[in-house]
């Protein structure tokens, strides 16, 4: 059993498509927003896979850096979306 760049990209493609499905399918906006971290996770998986298997020269950790950036951007997007939705009921 081994892992290649193709299998990593398959996993990334699955996560990206799953996130797009969540964003398109959910009727509630805050629930649809949760598709964004899943999509970003798929993109980050592809970047980490390329950094692990495909970089021969240059900055080998650039893919990991982009994955970290995507995770932080996902947190920011979810925080902003939930904050914009506001609280339920009188405070």
């Amino acid at each position: 059993m081994t892992v290649t760049l193709v299998s990593v990209l398959f996993a990334g493609a699955g996560l990206t498509a799953l996130g797009a499905f969540i964003a398109a399918w959910k009727r509630e906006l805050t629930a649809a927003l949760t598709g964004l971290p899943v999509m970003f996770a798929g993109a980050g998986t592809a970047f980490v896979g390329v950094a692990r298997f495909g970089v021969a020269s240059g900055a080998p950790l650039l893919g990991q850096e982009v994955a970290i950036l995507l995770a932080i951007a996902a947190l920011s997007a979810v925080g902003l979306g939930v904050g914009l939705a506001g609280r339920e009921g009188p405070r």
Binding site: V3, A13, A20, F21, R27, G44, L84
Partner: protein
């Protein structure tokens, strides 16, 4: 890559996929938060098995925070104005996206290189983040700060509709 890392990769990918599916079909705030947390654990496992330990730690923290935000019981439910027809078209588009990405991954001719980094690579990551790309790190910090301040302000803001209802 040895068998242990390969098993870790496939188990983590399955965890992330199951978490995403649960996120798509479960109802309720805390259930969705738990599903997003499961997805985060899976993604962190994928990164860790691909020798990206530092990214795995960051992803675990970020997705745990996302899960806590989503699991909050007291945020508003905002319904989309888009009808079911367009949502079904969007779901079909997601399936087409999966087919296109899977075909590109399967047919791609990628260069393979030997990986010399360690499992965690903290020295290399630190050098990359704080020496080579210091400005990008500052930009990410600014992005997080603006987003969290905006979220806090929007959370605490008194809404005009609430004021009208409170005066009645």
């Amino acid at each position: 890559m040895d068998s242990l890392h390969a098993i870790g990769f496939y188990v983590s990918a399955a965890l992330a996929g199951v978490g995403g599916l649960l996120l798509a079909f479960l109802r309720g705030h805390w259930r969705r938060g738990a599903a997003l947390g499961l997805t985060g654990i899976g993604v962190a496992g994928i990164y860790a098995s691909l020798s990206a330990g530092f990214a795995a730690v960051v992803v675990l923290v970020c997705y745990a925070a996302c899960a806590l935000l989503v699991a909050r019981p007291d945020y508003r439910t905002v319904e989309q104005a888009v009808g079911g027809y367009w949502r079904q078209l969007g779901a079909l588009g997601a399936a087409l996206l999966l087919a296109a990405l899977a075909y590109a991954a399967f047919r791609g001719d990628f260069a393979h290189a030997t990986f010399y980094g360690g499992a965690f690579g903290s020295v290399s990551v630190g050098r990359l983040l704080f020496a080579h790309d210091g400005l990008a790190t500052d930009a990410v910090g600014g992005l997080v700060l603006v987003a969290l301040v905006g979220a806090a302000m929007a959370w605490r803001r008194e809404r005009p509709r609430d004021e009208r209802e409170a005066r009645r």
